[in-house]
């Protein structure tokens, strides 16, 4: 046994990389469909959007790049599907410099194709990317068109019915930010604090812990923490709206729910490795001390 633990401690870490690869790849090749439990922060976010009425106006900001797309894409797409299903109007922006706009364009095109009745400029509009997130948000509280004079294609926003009578972000019911880094925080500490607009955040898992403080302080409606949060949202959406339930059960595309299989398997493997590593360390340490 001692020899086994000594060999374990001297194991080349590349074997662990291989184990991680196998643990994540297997559930992709053979989906397991493990259950996903929901948390109150995701349920609060979902219920808030469910309570919106047709014609209400929300703001969806793509504040992340390709480096966190597997976490943020599913939540942004799920939110957009919910809005289109409920006929809530959506204004889309991207404030993350490295790839936020490309991901926004991709997600909007994908979800809009699933809802052909949603009309561009009437039910939703893509205002594109703007540099300087904090300064842009400051402008949104004064005059939206000063920050976004045109849509993503360069057409003046005054041409679109969705922008009629819309002057500031105070008139928007909700901001949903799928975010990495600091930009998500700006929506809470600047837009919510100064203009009163409610905020739901979909941060990456790395950023999620800090947002619990904002939830506790009542500054956030809810949060979708990383891929797990996105999977929870998909589950709530699928249970509430049958067409979306059918979609999430049948789609060949990547969804957070599918990704959670790999998460769960790999977390089990990591826990086992931590236990084995600690066992090996403590058992062999005693022997070494005794030998010395």
């Amino acid at each position: 046994m001692q020899a086994f633990f000594h060999r374990l401690l001297a194991l080349d870490r590349r074997w662990i990389f291989l184990l991680v690869l196998i643990s994540v790849t297997t559930p992709i090749l053979v989906p397991i469909g493990l259950p996903v439990t929901t948390t109150s922060s995701t349920r609060n976010a979902f219920e808030y959007v469910e309570a919106l009425k047709p014609g209400d106006l929300v703001w969806l900001s793509f504040d992340y790049g390709p480096s966190s797309a597997p976490e943020n894409d599913p939540m942004a797409e799920a939110f957009l599907r919910q809005c289109f299903t409920k006929k809530v109007r959506v204004i889309i922006t991207a404030l993350y410099p490295l790839g936020g706009l490309g991901l926004a364009n991709q997600a909007v095109a994908k979800v809009a194709a699933e809802f052909p009745e949603a009309k561009y400029g009437v039910d939703y509009i893509n205002l594109g990317y703007k540099d300087g997130a904090a300064a842009v948000m400051r402008s949104l509280g004064q005059d939206i068109t000063s920050a976004f004079p045109t849509d993503v294609n360069g057409r003046p926003v005054s041409e679109f019915p969705i922008m009629e009578g819309l002057r500031t972000i105070r008139q928007v019911q909700l901001v949903f930010t799928a975010a990495t880094g600091l930009i998500g925080e700006y929506w809470i500490t600047q837009v919510h604090a100064q203009f009163g607009t409610d905020v739901i955040i979909g941060p990456t898992a790395v950023s999620a812990p800090k947002y619990y403080a904002f939830i506790n302080a009542g500054q956030l409606i809810g949060m979708l923490g990383g891929m797990k949060g996105a999977a929870e949202y998909e589950k709530l959406l699928a249970a509430k709206h049958e067409p979306l339930g059918k979609f999430y059960r049948s789609t060949a595309d990547f969804t957070a729910t599918k990704g959670m299989d790999g998460q769960t398997v790999l977390h089990g493997v990591i826990l086992a490795l931590i236990v084995m590593g600690n066992l090996a360390f403590f058992l062999t340490r005693g022997k070494k001390a005794g030998a010395a």
């Binding site: 590349r14 990389f17 991680v20 690869l21 994540v24 790849t25 992709i28 090749l29 966190s68 797309a69 597997p70 976490e71 410099p97 490295l98 790839g99 706009l101 594109g128 990317y129 703007k130 540099d131 300087g132 904090a134 300064a135 400051r138 920050a147 976004f148 004079p149 045109t150 993503v152 360069g154 700006y186 809470i188 500490t189 600047q190 919510h192 604090a193 100064q194 990456t204 898992a205 790395v206 999620a208 812990p209 403080a213 506790n216 302080a217 009542g218 500054q219 923490g225 990383g226 891929m227 797990k228 060949a252 990547f254 599918k258 990704g259 790999g262 998460q263 790999l266 977390h267 990591i270």
Partner: protein, 210 residues
């Protein structure tokens, strides 16, 4: 092969090149790393030019100069930043940088105080005149905040009273670091899942006709 197919193969190659670092450092990884840095910069410049400078500066100035002449000021400040490239007149860029920094201090100061410090302090100061589950949570919260603050108070040497409180603070810190680490692992695994999903669902399966 169409352009999308070529893009998928290229992305698959670059993904594998990045992963190859896990075995050991190699020229493929170095190539992918350098390409990523270069493309990111090019993308950022193009994005800012087309999505910010053209609609917010160039178009308003060319279409209605009289109504938008004030945009020359931020435009000029932006140009002044590049003066540091010419050592003889590099000092000019400091003025633009000073205004830039001052603007963001103004925006950020209000944001921090009004959006973060005051609401968080208000949440910490909870009434304790009745006992419920929420009161218990608030009590733990207060003990956590103050013990951690005492741990980070370095202006006076710790004594018999403050030392055990500071030790309690380290426990609160360890619990919060543990939670943060758990979330970090989940985030990094999500990125790996995303890449492997791409390799299997978007590259391998279509290539083998599945």
């Amino acid at each position: 092969m169409d352009l999308t197919g070529f893009g998928t193969w290229l992305a698959a190659f670059l993904t594998l090149a990045a992963f190859s670092f896990l075995y050991k450092d190699n020229p493929f990884f170095r190539f992918a790393e350098s390409l990523f840095a270069g493309v990111s910069l090019g993308y950022y410049v193009g994005n800012v030019l087309n999505q910010t400078l053209v609609p917010n500066l160039f178009t308003p100035l060319t279409q209605d100069f009289g109504g938008n002449w004030d945009l020359l000021v931020p435009g000029l400040l932006g140009l002044m930043l590049y003066m540091r490239g010419v050592p003889r007149i590099g000092w000019i860029s400091r003025y633009a940088l000073g205004i830039y920094v001052a603007y963001y201090i103004g925006v950020d100061f209000t944001r921090r105080i009004h959006g973060e410090v005051l609401p968080q302090i208000a949440r910490t100061i909870m009434p304790l005149n009745s006992f419920s589950a929420a009161t218990l949570v608030s009590l733990i919260f207060i003990v956590g905040v103050y013990s951690v603050l005492i741990y980070f108070f370095f202006s006076k040497e710790q004594n018999a009273v403050t030392r055990p409180i500071a030790r309690l603070g380290t426990w609160f810190l360890m619990i919060s670091f543990g939670a943060a680490f758990g979330f970090t692992v989940m985030g990094r695994v999500a990125l790996l899942i995303g890449r492997l999903n791409f390799l299997i669902l978007d590259w391998i399966y279509p290539t083998i006709g599945r």
